[in-house]
Symmetry: C2
Subunit: 195 residues, 2 copies
DNA sequence: GTCTTATGAATGCGTATTCATTCATTTTTC
DNA sequence: GAAAAATGAATGAATACGCATTCATAAGAC
């Protein structure tokens, strides 16, 4: 078995266990069991428990950013770009539930217990939205009076909270795609120049 | 010193300490120190560490709900109600930073480590928004095609994420009131019937 | 036969919780 | 009204235990 396989197996196991129990309640032995390795093996690939969480963030958000930037390159209409971002974000949360839970819960409070860790990757992801807003304003499609910094947070927050609760609650009277559509509709008609 | 004073002092100390360190990294002795009582005294008022957190949620969100429902009763225009809700929510986060941090961070992941705890108070708060949407739809001011369940989450998520980052980042190029205004503007123009 | 990778029992640290003790206040007794 | 007895709130050192991390040993690779 190659080295990289174990690294990946442990990360994947950690996603599952952190999603289920949360970072603090998760035991190293839980992750080891889930990854089918010995407890000690984990320390051959990671320095400590925090290191697993940080590696997980960096690697997984890295992949997501690559994906979304690729999608954005294929589109030029800012309105369509917002729609695509929304749909892609929500689908991601649906397809990778466990990862979504870890990112939503643990990522945000990580700066509480890991003082030194600044999550630049996360900022980079959300800044994809402000870039779209900026582009739309340049092109005169979006109102100049909007603050891109407010918009990106509001838009991201709307998507994230909606998908978070969609994943949590067992019964839904709407699909992920419908929710993404409604949210991007609201925001798009909310930021268009009056014409 | 009356009994109730100690209870309150401990809750207030817990808000400060949980905000600073997060629930798990917070030590009972930290809370005791902050509240200027002995470690053991805390166990005269609360069963355990979790109980402090739960009591804190129940009591503080209870107050917030009372406040916001009172505000809503004074207004009848659904658009104005959304504006007021937005502004009130954001101001709350600004005025009570520490409480805001605890609610935003710990409340959400509490169901991870406290299986049995269902946060009905939080749901009640967010449902204030869906009630407004419903009212607006009844009166024909808001589009019927919107799902109140999606809207409430999107609206709340937008407010919450924006205020969360406003509180975290040291420099702002906009005020809380401006952000609240922009967000309610976006959502209101996004859900109006086309007329 | 050496070097690498993996194991999991043993270690030790950190901290939630307990509980014997203190002490201020209230109640009872004469 | 003074002395004695009872109360229970508050204390904080001691306890107990969960779990991250280590490391002596084993298994596998070449």
């Amino acid at each position: 078995m190659r080295t990289s396989d174990k690294h990946t197996k442990i990360i994947e196991a950690a996603i599952t266990v952190f999603a289920r129990k949360g970072f603090f309640s998760a035991r190293i032995s839980d992750i080891a069991k889930e990854a089918q390795v010995a407890d000690g093996t984990i320390y051959l690939y990671f320095n400590n428990k925090y290191d697993i969480l940080i590696s997980l963030f960096e690697e997984e958000i890295g992949k997501i950013i690559l994906e979304v930037k690729l999608l954005m390159e294929k589109e030029s209409d800012p309105r369509r770009m917002l729609q695509i971002f929304a749909l892609h974000h929500m689908q991601l949360m649906e397809e990778k539930r466990e990862l979504a839970e870890v990112l939503q819960m643990e990522l945000r409070q990580s700066n509480k217990f890991m003082k030194e860790y600044r999550n630049t990757k996360f900022i980079e992801y959300v800044d994809v939205v402000s870039a779209i807003v900026h582009k739309g304003q340049e092109e005169g499609v979006f109102r100049k009076s909007l603050l891109p910094g407010v918009f990106k947070r509001a838009f991201f927050g709307a998507l994230d909270e909606t998908s978070r609760l969609w994943v949590l609650s067992p019964d839904h009277n709407y699909t992920i795609a419908e929710a993404a559509q409604q949210i991007s509709d609201i925001f798009i008609s909310g930021i268009m120049t009056d014409s």
